[in-house]
């Protein structure tokens, strides 16, 4: 993991919406960053460096927007860094930020991830024609649906599993004041009756398009110890890992990507996790389409291949289950693409610090944050816990 210890000492996020017409991009970022700094009881001047992450710049119509946002983020005279690893970017941004402290370069790093998808046209940006390729995908769902169908076939999973995930995540989202979608009236039937978009993915099993930002303040051991002494529990980063694989390669398994499994194996080793199902208390994983929950449960070693859907069906991943997944409502409730990965990492940290409010799980000692991007090819994960590594 690196020679210096690092902890999350401040967390902030915006209220996520389809359109945050009340703030500019700068305002959106400052809402999240301001909350994180307040949570850490720090001010802008305490920050040594800022690491920003977001997904394709076509979403906001601004090239390298961190440049025009530099002073809004208090970066004048400081190092500012912009990560972009497609959908996993929120996670990899947090990891890059943690490495600055791990390597002993800085003590207090502010890391922010965001997307203001309403500024440009998110569907358009996601479907920008790749030159010389016929446009068939119909968005991300059209890309993933055949792979989901492959999972269902391989695992012999019954049809309703995806809907169970959507129901659980949307119900969890009701308990999360920041989530974009609040659907207190959602039911299994309402999901079943929603329009089938890319068979087998229904409308209600699909993530929304959101404006939102997430920010973390990461601190060195000294900073984290001070926070603990003042009653603000840090979430210690016990492991971080990233893996990438090619988009279109004859060997790769797009259903259970080897990169995801290797990423998990690496991060569990760092965090001393030998039996993920037992050793991990809560998981925030990147589930933009419902069926990814059983797929990732298998990919991340919580269930054997072919068994992930059984965990979901049995209720193990519910808020009161024995391995709660996506207590915040996850990506299915909130998806500002650049921020989504960091939201997973942040929510995992919130669980450990005990600050998750109505969606808090009892006694979380170790939590996992997971993000993926591209055609299931970029993976970023971290393990946070109550104990110093």
């Amino acid at each position: 993991m690196g020679h210096e210890r690092v902890a999350v000492v401040g967390i902030g996020q915006t209220k996520h919406e389809a359109t945050r017409g009340d703030v500019s991009v700068a305002g959106l970022l400052r809402e999240a960053a301001g909350r994180a700094l307040a949570d850490a009881e720090m001010t802008w001047t305490d920050v040594d460096a800022v690491v920003i992450g977001k997904a394709p710049d076509f979403f906001e119509g601004v090239m390298m927007p961190e440049l025009f946002l530099a002073d809004a983020l208090g970066c004048t005279g400081k190092p500012m860094f912009r990560v972009h690893t497609a959908g996993s970017v929120g996670g990899s941004t947090a990891i890059v930020a943690s490495q600055l402290i791990s390597a002993g370069i800085h003590e207090r790093v502010l890391t922010v991830a965001f997307e203001k998808q309403s500024e440009s046209e998110a569907m358009w940006a996601l479907s920008l024609p790749i030159p010389f390729t016929p446009p068939l995908h119909a968005g991300a769902g059209g890309y993933f649906a055949p792979h989901i169908r492959s999972y269902i076939r391989r695992a012999k999973a019954p049809d309703h599993i995806g809907m169970l995930v959507a129901l659980k995540d949307r119900q969890n989202g009701v308990k999360n004041p920041y989530a974009h979608l609040h659907e207190p009236d959602i039911s299994f039937d309402s999901i079943k009756e929603s329009m089938m978009l890319w068979d087998p993915i229904r409308y209600a099993e699909t993530c929304p398009s959101s404006d939102g930002a997430c920010a973390l303040v990461l601190g060195s051991e000294k900073v984290a110890d001070e926070a603990a002494a003042q009653g603000r529990k840090p979430a210690w980063i016990q492991g971080t890992a990233m893996r990438s694989e090619p988009t279109l390669s004859a060997e790769r398994d797009t259903v259970l990507p080897l990169g995801g499994a290797l990423c998990a194996a690496d991060v569990y080793k760092q965090a001393g996790i030998t039996n993920p199902r037992k050793d991990v208390d809560a998981v925030e994983m990147y589930v933009p389409f419902s069926w990814f929950e059983p797929m990732w449960l298998e990919n991340l070693g919580f269930a054997e291949p072919g068994e992930g859907w059984k965990m979901t069906e049995a209720g193990a991943t519910a808020l009161d289950g024995d391995l709660p997944v996506n207590m915040s409502g996850g990506v299915l409730c909130t998806n500002p693409i650049g921020a989504s990965g960091m939201l997973r990492f942040a929510e995992a940290a919130m669980q450990v610090r005990g600050t998750a409010g109505d969606h808090q799980v009892d006694s979380v000692r170790k939590a996992v944050g997971h993000a993926y991007g591209g055609g299931s090819q970029f993976f970023a994960m971290w393990v946070v816990g109550k104990d110093k590594p």
Partner: protein, 209 residues
Amino acid sequence: MPEIQLPPSLQGVEPVRSVRTPARLDYTFTPGEATSRFLKGITQKKIIGQRATPDSRVYVPPRGADPELGAATPIEVEVAQVGTVTSFCVVNLQFYGSGMEIPYTSALVLLDGADLSIMHLIQEIPADQVRVGMRVEAVWRDDADIEPTLESIKWFRPTGEPDDVNVRIPGEIRGTGLGSWPGGVAPTELTVRNPRTGLGGTAEFGGEG
């Protein structure tokens, strides 16, 4: 948040809540060598795959690099115009830029001779009858309408041959040895064959062990 004090001349003036600034940038894309050769083949109603070495994977459509080897793909291999459906989905959503009539079936088709499925349309069969393993063939536009684009193939339709139920689905356990955590044992890089060294893979998954 500090309160912003407006000067007296701006008191009571309606604030600007948003601005709409249309922007347009024009790009002239060039396909590059690999795609050019592929598209030239299309104009001759051929589907040309490419590989890096005589033994490496055949990629259709080629994009310039073999992503496992990290090498250029100069060797051309004409692949068949028939193949097997390895997966599919039925699209009910009209989206920006698409001219398709919905619902339409988008499928991954592994052409005979290729090592990676291409994504294309399936037509001439009701969507609910499309299945994995179905044999399909390319349907081209009229000769006069053939252009250097993959859209010169209008769609794929069933050939009527018996299904290939054992089609090698790229990446599945049966075929290339990828699973995730069988038996709860964490996978390692050695789980899969390294294409450059030929090492790796486990006997159980069809590799060299």
